[in-house]
């Protein structure tokens, strides 16, 4: 097997055993990037010479951690010392930060290699990146962490960082058929990540397997836990209601099939009814995000309004018109929603819903709807997406699992159990263009 095809865990284990060098891994990934990038456009900045220098240096050093010598992609809103960081905006086209974001520093300290900067929608909002979906290059990979999801999916890197304010980790991960993790709010440091909405922004990441997601979580939290595949079937609360009403038919049928499969494997699948306060989720999310984005961008926007894309101009302007009392009302409704949802999840290992309302939309004009992810960004609860099957159009669908605050470890155990039972492959996807 070529090194680029390895999962993060396989590559890490091979490096630890001395069967693979960081140099060989980096060479293989850069070859894969050369081969697939012209069709995918996942990267904003990549410096192959720097990557190879660091890989050779790692090869000469004894591995000190599981991430030693492993190249990792970083969304282009994370500050990277000495490496251009554009935020997907022409305003920052030549901006080179002096320091690393906390998470970038963390992986570097563990011996990982910062492979390059991945494409993002403008300021992680809406105006799309040029990235294409490896499963069908005429479709969006989702956003805002577009490049990270596409890069992991087609084997350009085994793991990559994203961020989520609405649905920007889970949605692109699901559209691209990889595992996405949005941990509990504030579990991972946002320092050095360009803010969009302070109380909604989450640092997250994508991998190709749940075990890899566990390895990343160990590294990023410093909490070394051994991966032990779960044997006991989980107890999962099944969400329908709002999700059934808003999912496309193909996605909903796929979700019901997945629920039936997991039940057939022994999971306890219990129907749950969403609390009444859930109807305020999207309005509260919109008001908070618009007001906080307006506050975060206010000074820059005043100076360079016309250098912002059309969508984000309107979005920021709308936030500047939100009153303080409206913002606080949204945050008070958020308290009600968090209390109700955490009570609902209470006795279950996690709850489930589809990761997205549709499969990756055709065209690159927009990156799809975050509607099925925003509730978990608003509540700050940890969520993960696991590939659950393909639609009639051969596009990936995902199962989204959500649990109580700081229960990521158990959530990943359950996700791993589902991944094993659903039995989908996790090798890199060769870019597919139906016109080829």
């Amino acid at each position: 097997m070529k090194p680029y095809m390895m999962s993060l865990t396989e590559a890490s284990d091979a490096i630890q055993r001395g069967e693979l060098t960081p140099t060989e891994l980096a060479e293989s990934l850069l070859d894969r990037i050369n081969e697939t990038e012209p069709r995918i456009h996942a990267w904003v900045t990549i410096d192959p010479e720097k990557v190879m220098r660091e890989a050779r240096s790692a090869t000469e050093t004894k591995p000190g951690s599981r991430l030693h010598g492993v190249p990792i992609g970083v969304k282009d809103i994370y500050s990277t010392a000495g490496v251009r960081t554009t935020m997907g905006s022409p305003i920052y086209r030549d901006y080179v930060p002096e320091i690393d974001a906390d998470m970038v520093k963390k992986i570097k300290d563990l011996g990982a290699i910062m492979l390059g900067k991945t494409e993002t929608t403008e300021f992680a909002v809406h105006d799309p990146a040029p990235t294409r979906n490896p499963w069908n290059t005429h479709h969006t990979p989702g956003g805002s962490s577009s490049g990270s999801a596409a890069a992991v999916a087609c084997g350009m890197c085994p793991a990559a960082f994203g961020t989520q304010t609405g649905g920007s980790v889970i949605r692109p991960a699901s559209y691209c058929g990889v595992v996405g993790v949005k941990p509990t709010y504030d579990l991972l440091s946002r320092a050095g990540v360009y803010p969009l909405s302070w109380s909604l922004d989450h640092v997250g990441y994508m991998t190709r397997t749940v075990e890899d997601a566990h390895l990343m979580l160990c590294a990023l939290t410093g909490d070394e836990k051994k991966w032990v595949p779960r044997e006991k079937p989980p107890r999962i609360g099944v969400l329908r209601g709002y999700f059934k009403e808003n999912a496309e038919q193909d996605v909903w049928e796929g979700y019901e099939k997945t629920i039936a499969e997991l039940w057939g494997e022994g999971a306890d699948m219990i129907d749950l009814v969403l609390p009444e306060s859930f109807r305020h989720v999207h309005d509260a999310h919109r008001v908070i995000m618009a007001a906080e984005a307006a506050a975060a961008h206010e000074d820059l926007f005043r100076e360079k309004k016309h250098e912002y894309g059309e969508y984000i101009q309107g979005f920021i302007s709308s936030g500047l018109l939100v009153s303080a009392t409206a913002y606080l009302r949204a945050q008070r409704l958020r308290t009600m929603i968090i209390n109700d949802i955490t009570r609902l999840i209470g006795e279950y290992d996690c709850v489930a819903c589809p990761s997205t309302m549709d499969t990756a939309p055709e065209g690159l004009e927009w990156t799809g709807s975050p509607a099925f992810n925003a509730p978990w960004s608003l509540t700050g609860l940890p969520s993960v997406t696991v590939p659950s099957g393909l639609s009639k159009d051969k596009l990936p669908m995902g199962l989204q699992l959500i649990s109580l605050p700081y229960s990521e470890w158990k959530l990943l155990e359950v996700a791993g159990w589902c991944e094993e039972k659903l039995g989908l492959g996790n090798r890199p996807k060769d870019p597919y263009d139906p016109e080829d």
Binding site: G314, S318, A326, Y406
Partner: protein
């Protein structure tokens, strides 16, 4: 706010947008302004009660 309709509230907000950014820019941004303003209007119809504190600082650690 509670006595006016959603449409009136949106137009009131658009008036403020025109004052701030001019007619042309305000109209270009109408869709986003309408979406946010509609959300503001809808949450104004919900009553979380004065004892419900805003989640400006998430307190998950207090819950466990």
């Amino acid at each position: 706010l509670t006595t006016s309709g959603e449409r009136e509230y949106i137009e009131m907000t658009m008036e403020a947008a025109r004052d701030l950014w001019g007619e042309k820019d305000a109209e270009k941004m109408r869709q986003q302004i309408e979406s946010t303003t509609s959300a503001v209007w809808r949450i104004s119809q919900a009553d979380p009660g004065p004892m419900t504190e805003p989640a400006t600082k998430l307190r998950h650690r207090d819950r466990i």
